[in-house]
Amino acid sequence: MRTSLRMGRCRGEIGFLNHLTMKSYHLDHLDYLETEAIHIMREVASEFERPAILFSGGKDSICLLRLAEKAFRPSDIPMPFLNVATGHEFPELLEFRDRRAKELGAKLIVRTVDEALEKGTAVQAAGQISRNQLQIPVLLGAIEEYRFDCCIGGARRDEEKARAKERFFSFRDSFGQWDPKNQRPEIWNLYNGRLNPGENMRVFPLSNWTEMDVWEYIKREKLEVPSIYFSHKRRCVRRGGQWVPDTELMPVKSNEEVKDLIVRVRTIGDIISTGCVESPASNCDDIIAEIAAARVTERGSRADDRVSEAAMEDRKKAGYF
């Protein structure tokens, strides 16, 4: 929904005639997802006393920030950004995170797993290398420290099966737990954000977005994303059936295969466990084509021509028992 010129972009076969004679008042899919998310952001600003936006610097939370601008400008975004850092991030991500928060004039709160390990509020299990699990106590600690009653996150329902059953407003008890059998019904656009002391809400404005929608939105809004999403040269190690970045956090063992590859990351997590996909995609259009190809690998020769390394990687992953 940019200017009135953008109205009526969405026309069916019948609508084509309409457009010659009259305007069509119908939103296309990105406009629809956008207005739904803006509505949710404003509900959070109105119904919670101390909300925060979880901002990692990843592609989904980049969309969240643009939606926050759309919801609240010309005012300041009325909530701080919170990042729970594992300490194992890609350096490009941290640089981007700090710069973006500054550009938007927002307060960025960073809490790290390292601090929590030092204080003893998080404890590393023997043999545990990934720090994804350790983010949970750090997040809960930050919620308690700042008395946040609501955290807006960029999770999407298309990510996996359990997420497909999440609500937009996901109620958490005083231990931060989600009970899938005891969720509040969500009807029309009426969200119930009421809490008792100590309880908490997680809100997911991108619930209805797919990976494709996110990239289409990044393209449409001309949003900057960290460079590691695009094709670059990187030394990678073969681990667990995928290529992961070679990093001093986890030195290469003598029996491991190492290669210099042209890769990009599809999702960003911990640097030691984020799989890199071999890909020549160097801009949004390339990525959108790559995702489309990954979805339609068997759609016929037209699509087969565009099958990329990312699609190949998916197959390899699936084939790994």
Partner: protein, 439 residues
């Protein structure tokens, strides 16, 4: 737009109703599988599980039944959302279970749907559950209905059987508020008429299920007639350095109905102040006009005292206003509704105290008959009630506008959502006290 589409695409939201045995999960699995919406790893996972448990055949239902409890019990316990796209449209599926006890899930899944798919087992024909689903779809005013008559392979693709079921269903249609109904003979298991036309149904001239979903006309589904703008958030930058921002007083919200234009005369309710629209502000630049369901920020000609919960409407087209409400509700809590109890009522952007003053009757959702002399509504019951609110609601009947005509009830203390409500048409129109008075 992306290079994937040569033209803009829109979004269709639909829900599927049916019980485990109707093959609902298989139908969704088939739609995803045949429209090539599955990733390779999902397909391979399916094939693997088929080898172990399915006797070699892929169990498409495994795609949708996500939680462990569901797999163990072979049921769908809650609303699950699925996403897929074709070159023509993007789709959001709300997959809702068909058990008697899960009416509330269907209401949840269907409340924002453009279209509802009802599955009927061709061997069984129209059963009580099919009628119940159609009645709920009608109560929720879902604009489009598809009756997918499934397992046609098990009745030898009999046109006679198809027409017989169609007639059974059409017999009670006149009592429902559904304008657009489509009947499609399918076999979800084998993929007939789901994505590709079946060779077994030369007698059926219509589209496949996906063909219909891709082309059904939804552009006129939202209310574009009556301008309604519930104020969600007052946008006041209060910027001390930038003078233009210092004086900016915007009213942010999502347009719940109609179209708004620059220069349009509007009334703010419940106060009744009049003004005109000076600016329609968005981050992407000002608009000349905006329509439902766009999210915008309005700037009015006068600096009025407006806050969240107020409603800005077309000055020539006022909604209803009353604190005595008449509504149909679906009760969603294990503790039954009884008269006299107080709840919080959330309607558009405001939450007010409300007391249930009377239960008029319960609606038998298998026959649409009214059951009088009812003292309580149990979980999954639908009934008509009277409510008294602490302050008047500015509203429309649900039949006119799904957004300004709906509400939820919240129980104080537990904070759980206990009911979904649909308001009957107002008997009193908002009567602003200060209609011609502007500051």
């Amino acid at each position: 737009m992306s290079s994937l589409y040569s033209h803009p695409v829109d979004l269709l939201r639909f829900n599927t109703c049916g019980s485990v045995d109707d093959g609902k999960s298989t139908l969704i699995g088939r739609l995803l599988y045949d429209s090539k919406s599955l990733m390779e790893d999902q397909i391979e996972a399916l094939e693997r599980s088929a080898d172990i448990t399915g006797g070699g055949q892929i169990n498409l239902a495994n795609l949708t039944d996500g939680l462990r409890a569901e797999r163990e019990q072979g049921i769908t316990i809650d609303v699950a959302y699925r996403y897929f796209a074709t070159p023509h449209r993007k789709f959001i599926i709300a997959d809702t279970p068909g058990h008697v006890q899960y009416t509330r899930n269907m209401v949840t899944g269907a409340s924002s749907a453009n279209l509802s798919i009802i599955l009927i087992d061709a061997r069984q024909g129209v059963i009580e559950q099919s009628r119940r689903h159609a009645i709920i779809a009608s109560l929720l005013r879902i604009p489009h209905l598809v009756v997918a008559i499934n397992k046609m392979d098990l009745v030898d693709w009999s046109e006679e059987r198809f027409l017989e079921i169609k007639t059974q269903f059409e017999e009670f249609l006149p009592r429902l508020d559904i304008k657009d109904v489509k009947f499609i003979p399918v076999s979800a298991l084998n993929g007939d008429n789901i994505v590709t036309a079946s060779a077994h149904t030369p007698w059926y001239p219509g589209p496949t299920l996906l063909g219909h979903l891709e082309t059904v006309h939804i552009a006129s589904d939202s209310n574009l007639s009556n301008f309604r703008f519930p104020v969600q958030w007052v946008n006041r930058p209060n910027n001390p350095t930038d003078q233009t921002l210092h004086d900016f007083r915007g009213l942010s919200g999502q347009i719940a109905g109609g179209i708004v234009k620059i220069g349009q005369k509007v009334t703010v309710l419940p106060s009744g102040f009049s003004s005109t629209v000076k600016q329609i502000w968005t981050l992407d630049g000002p608009l000349e006009e905006a329509f439902s369901p766009q999210s915008v920020t309005l700037v009015l000609d006068h600096d009025l005292d407006i806050s969240r919960g107020d409603v800005i409407v077309d000055a020539e087209d006022l909604p209803g206003a009353s604190s005595d409400l008449h509504a149909k509700i679906c009760w969603m809590n294990p503790r039954p509704l009884t008269t006299g109890k107080q709840y919080l009522l959330k309607h558009t952007t405001q939450t007010v105290k409300a007391a249930v003053t009377a239960i008029e009757h319960k609606i038998n959702i298998s026959t649409l008959e009214k059951e009088n002399g009812i003292t309580e509504l149990a979980m999954n019951d639908i009934g008509e009630i009277r409510l008294k609110t602490a302050k008047p609601l500015i509203y429309d009947g649900y039949a006119t506008n799904r957004l300004t005509g709906s509400f939820i009830l919240i129980e104080e203390g537990t904070n759980v959502t206990v009911a979904a409500g649909m308001l009957l048409p107002p008997t009193e129109i908002a009567r602003p006290e200060y209609r011609d008075f502007a500051i």
